[in-house]
């Protein structure tokens, strides 16, 4: 699935919910299942320090594809982390760099990416893009 397709799929899933409660219950469920990061990566080296909640992000690059694993200490943050990973994981640096996060607006959860939240999520997205940039540079250099 392309990044856009995944985004559309998420928007469709969320369109089933009538109210914020169902939406948040779903987020919380997702937060609970979120593919946990290996314990060794839940360390300060991988920490993105939001003031309200913390996020750990681990990234690998293999065969032109980036893999993301992440976690958070707050479950709602983790739910959003889960959505972001679903959208961005397993794509090429180029795809990730051109993608946006408008699906969060569409499902009414944009506020979670606001700089005013300081929950670590905005920094996480920035960090993912930065990795994509670094890996892109690396792969073009390898091909020179």
């Amino acid at each position: 699935m392309t990044i856009e397709q995944t985004q559309n799929q998420i928007v469709e899933e969320f369109s089933l919910f009538d109210d914020w409660m169902d939406k948040y219950n779903y987020l919380i469920e997702m937060g609970k299942d979120c593919p946990m990061i290996e314990t060794q990566y839940k360390s300060n080296n991988y920490l993105i320090n939001g003031c309200q909640s913390r996020v750990w992000l681990h990234t690998t690059f293999d065969g032109g594809i980036i893999h993301f694993r992440a976690d958070s200490d707050a479950v709602i943050t983790k739910g959003i982390v889960n959505l972001l990973i679903r959208v961005f994981d397993g794509h090429t640096p180029a795809e990730i760099l051109t993608a946006d996060t408008t699906f969060l607006d569409k499902i009414g959860l944009k506020e979670h990416l606001s700089p005013t939240r300081s929950n670590g999520l905005l920094s996480m997205v920035k960090q993912m893009k930065l990795y994509a940039q670094v890996f892109q540079l690396k792969s073009t250099q390898n091909h020179e």
Binding site: M21, Q52, I76
Partner: protein
């Protein structure tokens, strides 16, 4: 709850336009008063009438508006001086807030008293604003920064305080009331102890000023700092009370405008107190708003406020005790209407998010007091903090909402 209270709560609430609103279609319950209070109509009106009819720059202007403004401003200073029972009006310095007041002290009093090898003493329950300025002063001066330990109840360990005093720090800085734990510190006693060693004491009164009567002369504190916006006044104005003898011997903090007496290329002489510490155009509108807020409080009677908020606090503690897995952070013998807690296994941020959706304006996080979080080994708390317009019904709604949120998150 329908018993009769000392104050007519509906009449008071009707004076606060901001309380009468809904968020997400739920009636707003505003329990974030430790961060800032809402403003009564008379304070808002005072600001408005200043800007609509009186506005001008004060001091030194010979024209009518400027003269009237100056008189109003200096009357407000007198109102503040009386409110905290300062000996002299010129012991009241207008700043932009508690943080500004304390930074002024860390610079001016710090430069006067703290040198290489000296030390400064604070407590382990300070807000960053009464912690970091002293810490940075110590780094700059190559002095030692000492922190009095707190107990697991969230009280200052007085034996430890005494031990620290024996090391003769040059300055002691203490919160009157902790913005996380709600602890009312025994400052009169702590000041007396410090004075035995002739050490001046700075009190951070940000969380106390709106909730109990402050008498700086009977406390005998050397400095007392607070913010207008936490006592029903507009943002952008704070107060630093200081004993005349200290203020006179301190060098100014900022330079320019009214605080100058004579200026030549070679040197500058400074104006007398309080102007010496008030550089630049003052925030006249907000100062007059602060005066109105004080009158508002005095009309109700600060003792009545204290009693009422005390009842609210006890009721809230009782209702919170119903909730399983709820752990109070701080359980001091003397406490004010600031209550922090955590729910086992649930992150404060998650709870805060859900509570928000339920119309509850409460605070989550470290409350700018990370040393307290370190002590209790937690990332943050949920905090509710009361003002005189809060009600028992609101506490009931809050507890219902909290139960719902916990259910969602368990």
């Amino acid at each position: 709850m329908n018993s009769k209270y000392i104050i007519d709560i509906q009449q008071i609430r009707s004076q606060f336009p901001a309380l009468n609103q809904s968020v997400y279609n739920k009636p707003l319950v505003y329990f974030d008063n430790g961060a800032t209070t809402q403003k009564p109509q008379m304070v808002i009106e005072r600001l408005k009438s200043w800007y609509e009819q009186e506005n001008s720059n004060i001091h030194r202007g010979v024209h009518y508006l400027s003269q009237q403004g100056t008189i109003a401003f200096e009357n407000a200073r007198k109102t503040v001086a009386d409110f905290v029972n300062a000996q002299y009006q010129h012991e009241i310095i207008f700043t932009k807030g508690t943080t500004d007041s304390i930074n002024l002290l860390a610079s001016s009093l710090g430069n006067l008293l703290v040198h290489d090898g000296d030390s400064v003493l604070v407590t382990g329950m300070e807000h960053h604003s009464n912690f970091v300025p002293w810490q940075q002063l110590c780094i700059e001066k190559k002095a030692t920064f000492h922190v009095t330990e707190i107990t697991d109840q969230g009280e200052i360990d007085l034996a430890n305080y005494q031990l620290h005093l024996e090391k003769k720090p040059k300055i002691v800085a203490i919160a009157h009331i902790s913005n996380v734990l709600g602890t009312i510190n025994p400052i009169a006693e702590m000041i007396e102890l410090a004075h035995k060693y002739a050490i001046p004491v700075v009190i951070d009164g940000a969380q106390a000023i709106a909730h109990q009567h402050i008498d700086v002369q009977s406390l005998d504190c050397d400095f007392y700092a607070f913010s207008g916006h936490k006592m029903y006044a507009p943002m952008g104005v704070g107060v630093l009370y200081g004993k005349e003898k200290w203020l006179n011997s301190m060098r100014p903090y900022q330079f320019g405008g009214e605080m100058v007496s004579q200026v030549s290329e070679q040197e500058t002489t400074f104006n007398e107190l309080p102007f010496k510490f008030e550089a630049g155009t003052p925030n006249v509108g907000a100062v007059l708003g602060l005066e109105s807020a004080i009158k508002f409080l005095q009309d109700i009677g600060i003792e009545n406020v204290k009693k009422y908020e005390n009842e609210l606090m006890h009721y809230a503690l009782k209702r919170l005790s119903e909730i399983e897995n709820l752990r109070l952070i701080g359980n001091p013998a003397h406490r004010a209407g600031v209550i922090s807690f955590v729910i086992d296994e649930i992150h404060p941020y998650d709870l805060g998010m859900i509570m928000d959706k339920l119309g509850m304006a409460i605070r989550t996080g470290h409350h700018c007091a990370q040393p307290v979080m370190h002590h209790f080994g937690i990332p943050g708390t949920l905090r509710i903090s009361f003002a005189l317009y809060n009600t028992f019904d609101e506490i009931d709604s809050f507890v219902e909402a909290l139960k719902k949120a916990i259910l969602m998150l368990s």
